[in-house]
């Protein structure tokens, strides 16, 4: 009924803004499980609540209702011009949405936070190389 895609946009916007579910839920005055259900599309979000969230996440209400276009969402977040349709299709094939989310999240962090992620990724990589050969 459309609420699944609203939920996905909500999750994307929340992650881009660097909030955990607990943090955003506390800000809007609902439980973490309610917010989780909004994001899964299992519970309909009512207009007043979405307007509150939109304000906190600094997004227009329309953002949550638009057909999902992860590639352009990330491009907007990283201040790139929107991709032309053919270019967008190619880009979507190149970058999986998990990677896009990670990139956007990474860029929303402070320099210290970004350094922590880099350190952790390097440590993980070393460990994987050790384990797998």
């Amino acid at each position: 009924m459309g609420y699944k895609s609203i939920g996905r946009q909500l999750q994307l916007a929340r992650e881009q803004a660097g909030y955990s579910q607990e943090q955003l839920a506390a800000k809007i005055g609902c439980s973490q499980s309610t917010l989780s259900n909004y994001e899964k599309g299992r519970r309909r979000i009512y207009l007043a609540q979405l307007e509150k969230i939109a304000e906190i996440l600094n997004k227009p209400v329309q953002f949550f209702l638009q057909p999902i276009d992860h590639e352009n969402a990330v491009r907007q977040e990283v201040c790139l011009p929107a991709a032309a349709p053919s270019e967008a299709t190619a880009a979507v094939q190149d970058i999986k949405s998990r990677e896009q989310n990670l990139l956007a999240l990474f860029q929303s962090l402070s320099p210290e936070g970004q350094q922590l992620i880099m350190d952790f990724a390097l440590w993980l990589k070393k460990r994987e190389v050790g384990e797998n050969g």
């Binding site: 459309g2 609420y3 519970r43 979000i45 207009l47 209400v61 329309q62 953002f63 209702l65 638009q66």
Partner: protein, 380 residues
């Protein structure tokens, strides 16, 4: 803790609802049905307007009764027991007002809500459905294009209750069909605005009192002040309007079911076959017992959904359940009542015949029963 006691005010209102339904609406029901879809009789809605029950949810600050959804469900059950058509007109007014109540500007509220609370009977319409867009509401194609600060709206709406007799229409359009949900936009359009015309009047199997028409919009030219809600919010506004309205649609079903049940019960006690009332046949009495269980269960769903709405809790699933249960029991009770009344129930002029025709629409309007199941399933 659940409490099924009505407050003294609700008890008093219920008395008033019953009095109006029984003494003023019920006596007209057969005549309204017989007159058909072709003409609209303002008599019944005038009666309701005199008591300010025509749109009972209008907040007190705009001259309304300010009834909550629970109390409104009591009114609708009584009205539907008297005439499902009249009850449906009241729900249409409530739906049309709902987006304005929820998200209208101060000016929109001041202009349109007092109309529906006026002692003169004013009706309102909600125009969403189109010839090519029914259940799939995001595919509407009535187009609103902005030019030099004004909107031009063109398209055709279908099945609009109170079409052609409404003082204003709450219209849903799109700023571009490819934008789907995010492109939806809502307007409030006063009657008589240039370019808004009544199309074909729809002739129906049941609820024949309810005037239902096409609406044709031919370059209707309106300023921004007529847009309801913030940009991009119309889809959510519509969904919320439906979610609230469906609980009330359930109440209409319960009222109709109750009327059919009560008629059949009385008939079965008076009608003698094989030397005793047909009610004494266990098959008949069990049928009535089953109906009573289902009516009570549907009513409880309606009450719970309304309670959730009134307490600003999550009501989506319960509202769909209430609508599903109310419409289903209305159809079942009307069909069972016809069986219990035998051949007499099938005759024109017997209330049961009207109940059956009226009940049939209840699984179609305000989202078909499949759509209610889809809403419920989406939350599992």
């Amino acid at each position: 803790m659940a409490d099924f006691n009505l407050s003294p005010e609700q008890e008093q209102l219920l008395e008033e609802f019953r009095d109006i339904a029984l003494h003023k609406i019920a006596p007209m029901a057969a005549e309204l049905d017989e007159a058909g879809d072709g003409r609209f009789d303002f008599g019944p809605v005038r009666v309701l307007a005199e008591h300010n029950f025509l749109t009972p949810t209008i907040p007190c600050e705009y001259g309304g009764r300010g009834l909550d959804y629970f109390t409104t469900s009591l009114l609708l059950e009584e009205l539907a027991a008297a005439c499902a058509g009249v009850a449906t007109v009241v729900t249409a007014n409530i739906h049309a007002a709902s987006p304005i109540v929820l998200a209208g500007t101060g000016q929109q509220k001041k202009t349109y809500l007092p109309l529906l609370a006026s002692r003169k009977a004013h009706l309102a319409a909600l125009a969403l459905t189109e010839p090519e867009a029914g259940s799939d509401i995001a595919s509407i194609s009535t187009l609103a294009v902005k030019n030099n600060g004004f909107w031009n709206i063109s398209g055709t709406k279908e099945f609009v209750i109170n079409g052609g007799v409404a003082s204003f229409t709450t219209l849903f359009a799109t700023t571009g069909p490819d934008k789907k949900r995010s492109g939806m936009i809502a307007f409030v359009l006063p009657a008589g605005i240039p370019g808004l015309k009544e199309g074909a009047v729809r002739h129906k199997l049941g609820i024949r009192y309810v005037r239902t028409t096409q609406l044709v919009l031919d370059r209707v030219h309106v300023p921004d002040e007529m847009v309801i809600g913030s940009q991009g919010s119309a889809y959510l506004l519509l969904m919320q309007t439906f979610d609230r309205g469906r609980a009330l649609a359930g109440a209409v079903g319960v009222g109709l079911a109750r009327a059919a049940y009560e008629f059949a019960l009385e008939f079965s006690k008076k009608r003698h076959q094989f030397g005793r009332p047909v009610f004494d046949q266990q098959a008949v009495a069990f049928n009535l017992a089953d109906l009573l269980v289902k009516i009570e269960a549907a009513r409880l769903l309606v009450w719970k959904a309304c309670w959730l709405i009134d307490n600003d809790l999550d009501y989506t699933m319960l509202s769909s359940m209430a609508k599903l249960a109310g419409s289903s029991v209305a159809q079942e009770a009307a069909a069972a009542a016809m069986d219990i009344c035998g051949g007499r129930g099938y005759l024109k002029g017997c209330p049961v015949e009207k109940y059956l025709r009226d009940a049939r629409v209840m699984s179609l309007i305000e989202g078909t029963n499949n759509i209610q199941k889809a809403v419920i399933a989406s939350q599992l």
